[in-house]
Amino acid sequence: MPETTDFLYPFIEGDETDSGTLLEDLARSAEGKWAQSSALREATLTRCQAQLQATAAAMAERFRAGGRLFTFGNGGSATDAEAVAHLYTQPPSGRPLAARSLAEDQAVMTALGNDVGFDLVFSRQLIAHGRAHDIAMGFSTSGNSENLMRAFAEARKQGMLTVGLSGYDGGRMAAEGTPVELCLVASSDSVHRIQESQAALNHALWAGVQEALTSPG
């Protein structure tokens, strides 16, 4: 693949031998990206503050009524779903809450993917498990994943609360007519920076749920 920036690197053809300059560049790059991530985090938490409050209150209401949290996502977002389920069930402080990632059981995932198609891997599980008081929380960086949209639609059909975390401009998850009732968006065009800010949103939301559950009423 031709690189248009080759001229910046006189040794690009392979005879570069001193790694000192590269290590300095890498460290500077890491610092810059770190600062970008911090700035996006701050902007996202600030912009989403009212939404976080509303979402935490709605989730707390479901938990109070005996609801459970089901999380889902694809790839790195599947690991975020796993992390959130872990945080709710095994919190560093506060009250443990029922939560489970739908992407974690490989027998179920492969059975559904093989037999009914990958678009249905999460929605079919919600058909089996979902109840009206439960919460469906999906993670995507594009906001466009078909299997998430199908799961949200199924969740709404059952009366579940639907919460989405998205990136870029929110995608289908934040568009008109979406089945996602509460969609938190980390507005960036970098998948990595989006996921980093979504982690902050997840933690803020969890803290908000815990707080809402300790306050009266």
């Binding site: 890498l26 500077r28 610092e31 990206k33 701050e42 990595h192």
Partner: protein, 286 residues
Amino acid sequence: MATGAYGAGCSRLIDVRYIYRERISGATSGSEPGAGCHTGAVGDVAQQTGEVEGVAQDLARASLALARRFSAGATMWCASPTWPFHAHHVAVEFVHPVIVGKRALPAVTVPPAADMVATLRASVVPGDIVVVLADADDPRVVDAMRRGPAWGVETVWIGAGARRPEPGAANHVIWLGTERPLEASELFVRIYHLLWELTHVCFEHPGLLKPEPECGSTGDVGSVCVTCSDEGRPAEVVSVDGDEAVVRTPDGQEQIDVSLIDPPAPGDLVLIHAGFAITASAPMVG
């Protein structure tokens, strides 16, 4: 404490404005109204300090090492006994890049329910990479990492907390000072994203990815490197038969004499020299 981590009567959920004022001014909790909102977990989310200094240098060095190992054919083994989702995230980053056109690299998660040392022992080959996310005192991780030199793998240990791994516990230690678990968890995501991003920058510098010069390849006839002369080499005992043992080293299996040390058991780490086990101590990364 009856009110748990969340201050009683705190009316604000997560007052981000307050939090950032606090961070910028460096004011301590309790010096402003509403400070009760910033204890425990809520404060954990809010008061992110996220120091990058030091971490950036460590990330740079680790990324270059990873790029060199991958270029030479390494597989990367990812493990996090306490936070399996972090290990899964690291592996999926490298196997399925978010940027179209970047190389898919062989990265694998050690199944969280598996015996980490047994799985790695059976799986790794010399030249591979082992990346762990764990506290400094996780005994499973400590035991796996100390075997790195005998297995011939490059080790990267990512973690957080006041307590760091012992010096030399891994080739690369990328450590955050924070004691707040949620802040650490957030920053781990940043760290492994950057590890991936910087590793791929290194691939644009093929001249720097050539293997380190091997012993004897310098053409300096007559000189003998320390690795081949006086110093013991790390090895892991495979089997023992009286005074004889088979050990595993980065160069393969070797038959050695163990009569100079207390009888070792399979899995023990020893230092070997000139066909003898000379000490049963656990070698650290040099």
